[in-house]
Amino acid sequence: MSTQYPLTTREDRARARRRRSRRHMAISGVSAVVVLGGLVARIVTASGWPAFRQTFLSAHWFGVSFGSILSGFWLDIRMFLIIEVCVLALALLIALIRTFDTPVLFPLKLICIVFVDVMRGIPTILLIYLFGFGIPTLNLKGLPTDQVVLGGAALALNYSAYVSEVFRAGLMSVHPGQGAAALSLGLTPAQALRTVIVPQAVRNVVPPLLNDFIALTKDVALVSIIGPQEAARVAQIFQDQDFNFTPLLAAAALYLCVTIPLIRIVDHLQWRRIREQGSALALGPR
């Protein structure tokens, strides 16, 4: 006697798929509520919670300090925009000098190597101190004396060293065939660099460039140690004055407004590259 097994139909499979996805959604929904809700419950029922709320989450002190912190943040924004432009230009120049083997450039190349090693090796905060107090001591005519300029210069040189390494990696990641093709068309080496190699080098390293930019947006706060009242410093002044830590959170929130969108963009770009890697490599023998 042969047993007949029922054949699975298209509808059976569709139904099973729907059931499975409903189950998945239910599980993730419940686990999210349980875990997050549990965490929040634990925090809110802690014995120190009222004191924490008063000291760190006070709406009153947030309101009192926010305007001044925002003015300080405007200084931060101007600084990191201008410094970033300087960093990109200087870093690209250093990377080009270091990558290409022209005998004329040799002394420059040596200076660049020493510069990058030293600037990467000194902690940023020390560099800002050295520039902020050291340069005015020299009392040389023509050197800047403004604190924002001195601090900004220290940051610009510090970051140029790191970013030049990123650009170098970018330049080396451009396939040598690209340079060969550009030269074979009769472009001068300078034209080949400008139109073919550097554009591709930069495109290849946008995520690490953005990462360094995000780091810079936070490091501009260090300039406050030589005097300027930027956002984090203003928050600290309120904190010391009124013994309440909420202004620090206000400053942090302002920083997040800038850094989180940048971080999301970097993530998006990185994932798009990973997905595209296949087709980018297809630009060549398949």
Partner: protein, 268 residues
């Protein structure tokens, strides 16, 4: 024909200053080493106007290196190369003006991925030969139309098939109106069904009188298109002559061995 760009020359003999009948390209005793490895061991070659030479030989025999040396992408260790009678390998001389008169197409296409097809094609004319943008685009589109690719002009290279990309690469080299077109195994990286469209294009260029050297594995194509075939082995030209002679009745033992291996692999 643009009168304002002195580097652009037509293919006419006599307009170049070299005596009519003299070779367009002459390679004399060229030697090249990479470190301890000697890749070219004294190459002698002469290419006449409208002539097509096919370079055949195994990988590593020096075909690519020879083409790169002719295009001055590599320096040579010994010997001379002459373009229209003018020496182009003088030590210390600027190679750029000579490269402008030569065109090289690569096995791996080397299209610029960050530029659209039309920009790839016109880059050489605009930057190296100072042709106006509008004029270059017009010529570029006309050339792409001739190759059947004008509908792809505004796309980026990664959207094209391998065969289409290689044809764009050929258009890119052609727009600068080179005296000699150098083709380095341009179909070796293509899927078999795409090879034909590229070979057809090269045949058409030859029919229109383009002077060219092509390194290739496609023996039937070489027999069809080339005026002369040179067999390279181990950095030397072992045998050269009419395709019918070299490919069907080779004189040298080395050539016979090479062709026998190809026959065995069904590549003849």
């Amino acid at each position: 024909m643009s009168g304002s760009a002195p580097d652009r020359m037509t293919g006419h003999p006599g307009a170049t200053g070299a005596p009519a009948g003299a070779p367009v390209l002459e390679v004399r005793g060229v030697t090249k080493s990479y470190g301890d490895t000697v890749v070219l061991k004294g190459i002698d070659l002469a290419l006449g106007e409208h002539e097509a030479i096919a370079l055949i030989g195994a990988s590593g025999s020096g075909k690519s290196t020879l083409l790169r040396c002719i295009d001055l992408l590599e320096g040579i260790d010994d010997g001379d190369i002459f373009l229209d009678g003018e020496p182009i390998t003088v030590p210390g001389a600027n190679p750029v003006p000579f490269r402008r008169r030569l065109g090289l197409v690569f096995q791996s296409f080397n299209l610029f991925p960050h530029m659209r097809v039309i920009d790839n094609v016109t880059l050489g004319a605009i930057k190296a030969q100072k042709v106006g943008r509008a004029e270059a685009r017009e010529e570029g589109l006309a050339l792409l139309a001739r190759f059947g690719l004008e509908s792809r002009a505004r796309e980026f290279p990664d959207r094209l098939s391998g065969g289409q990309q290689q044809r764009v690469a050929i258009a890119r080299a052609m727009l600068t109106r080179p005296r000699v077109l150098l083709l380095d195994e341009v179909t070796s990286a293509l899927d078999p069904e795409l090879v034909g469209e590229v070979l057809d294009l090269i045949r058409e260029l030859k029919d229109q009188g383009m002077t060219m050297i092509l390194a290739t594995h496609e023996m039937s194509f070489a027999r069809d298109v080339a005026d002369r075939v040179c067999f390279l082995e181990d950095g030397r030209i072992v045998e050269q002559g009419h395709p019918d002679q070299v490919l069907s009745a080779p004189r040298e033992a080395a050539t016979q061995r090479f062709l026998a291996r190809l026959l065995h692999a069904n590549r003849l």
